[in-house]
Amino acid sequence: MSNVYFEILRPGINTTIQDCGRNHMYHEGIAVSGAIDQRNFKIANKLVDNHLNEAVLEFAYQGPLLILKNNKINFSITGDVIFKIIRKNLKIEDGTCYKNYILEEDDQLDIISTKNTAYGYLSVNGGFQIDKLWNSYSINTKAKIGPNNGKKYSTEDKIFIKNSRLKKIKKIEINFSELSDNIIRVIKGTNFDYFSSEAQNSFFNKEFSVTKLADRMGIRLSGYNLENVISTNIKSEGLVRGTIQVPADGNPIIMLSDHGTIGGYPKIGVVIAADLDRVGQLTPGSSISFKEVSLEEAENIFKAYNEDTNKYINECN
């Protein structure tokens, strides 16, 4: 057992452990969970020389204030994040994302906030000292499963860090830039024909805005009511990440990592896999529009997304 840990001095809004997600549990009613932004999660791990699927700390908007106890560590933060390192001698350093740092015993890490996105990631070399549940480290606060008894972190909680092999640390810093347009690509849903032709056109031509009801379960949109001409309910059936459901009020909801596993609202579309990271990072008040792509196009875009991710991963070598 390691005795190295972060103590939480301020928990932040929604600080949890995440990884690539928990598969093979949908039929039990348990969502996949996992990091909302999978690319930034993987890059965070690579920057500290971890396996790409090592557990990281995910935070939303305001992040945690942490103090490190009993040893030094190598860490990195990814996303669009403002943070400071408060050294033991009270010297304050501004932090830079996509770069690895040494944090000494009794130093503090103040993750102040994300800027134009919702989520950021903190990785530590060696990973956290926690147990997997159903083959994943992810905390699912809805089903109350995973590390920390399935709860988000609170003040005074301790997060133990595995004894790392801090011998020679290679300084790494990469240039990360993501396209910032808000066009989300979707494949038509299985109930696309439930909607009036006007609603179908509007779905792909109007702008929608992200409401305050946005969290790890999903994002509710507003701006244009999509008229349903067949039925506003279907017999409940499985959902996947990225499904866009439209309840009776006509306002679309995009399902994210902690979504209910089944649902009874018609599905107008599904966000393509390559755009899930960007959708998850949308903040309340931002505008988005949807663009239709074919399955074949989506598969090609996913290849390009993977190549892009690998480019960043390779830059860390």
């Binding site: 089903a143 059936e237 499985g238 996947v240 598969e299 996913f302």
Partner: protein, 228 residues
């Protein structure tokens, strides 16, 4: 058998077994689910990440890094399914306390259905139910079919919090809230029995699709002293 296969986005196959809800169609869904689960467990197929059976659909999610829609669709189309639902036909008895403080919606049901509380309970407890699926929240079973005389719509305004263990009915279905959750079902009682146990790593859900469920009434005293 599967009537139609299509894609749900770029990472899932949507298998449509029909539009009605009945045991025959659902058993078919469960046969496919069991067959595919076995192949996944035995690592005979790669890339499947989740299988989600429901009343009359099966969604097969896959990892686009490993496989794709075309390959997964072909795999499903070429399966030779043997019905083994009998193996799944376990019978489970669930205790329910229907005291006023747990049966939140008797008044509403009285008004909507013009039927007494006593009659509702008699009709509810006299039937054995079939588990069509579990989901929405961890381990929540969707059971059917309830007697036609006690079928009622969802609440017009769903509750923000339905207490854990609540037993609800809506339309032809009954369910059990395995966690405190928002919800709009008509609540008629509460069970002290643990329906989802995250400590049981192999079978966290007590009730599985295909199981036969019957309920029996217990007193408040029995409810409060319940010991599993």
């Amino acid at each position: 058998m599967i009537k139609n296969i299509s894609n749900l986005g770029d990472t899932a196959v949507y298998c449509d077994f029909g539009s009605e809800v009945n045991e025959t169609i659902n058993s078919n869904v469960i046969d496919y689910f069991n067959h595919l689960s076995k192949l996944v467990k035995e690592e005979k197929i790669q890339g499947i990440t989740n299988l989600t059976p429901s009343y009359n659909k099966l969604i097969v999610s896959f990892d686009l890094n490993i496989t794709n829609y075309k390959e997964t669709k072909n795999l499903i189309e070429n399966l030779v399914i043997q019905s083994n639902v009998k193996k799944n036909n376990k019978k489970i008895k669930i205790p329910v306390c229907c005291e006023k403080e747990y049966g939140l919606d008797f008044e509403r049901l009285n008004i909507k259905l013009n039927i007494s509380e006593k009659e509702i309970l008699k009709l509810f407890f006299s039937k054995e139910y079939f588990c069509y699926m579990t989901g929405f929240i961890a381990g929540m079973p969707f059971l059917g079919d309830v007697n036609e005389k006690i079928r009622c719509d969802r609440l017009e305004t769903p509750r923000v919090k339905v207490p854990k263990g609540s037993v609800g009915i809506t339309e032809q279905f009954a369910n059990i809230y395995t966690f405190e959750s928002p919800g709009g079902w008509n609540i008629i009682g509460k069970t002290p029995q643990k329906i989802f146990n995250e400590k049981n790593l192999v079978e966290p859900s007590l009730i599985k699709p295909g199981n036969k469920i019957s309920f029996y009434q217990i007193s408040k005293e029995e409810y409060l002293n319940w010991n599993e």
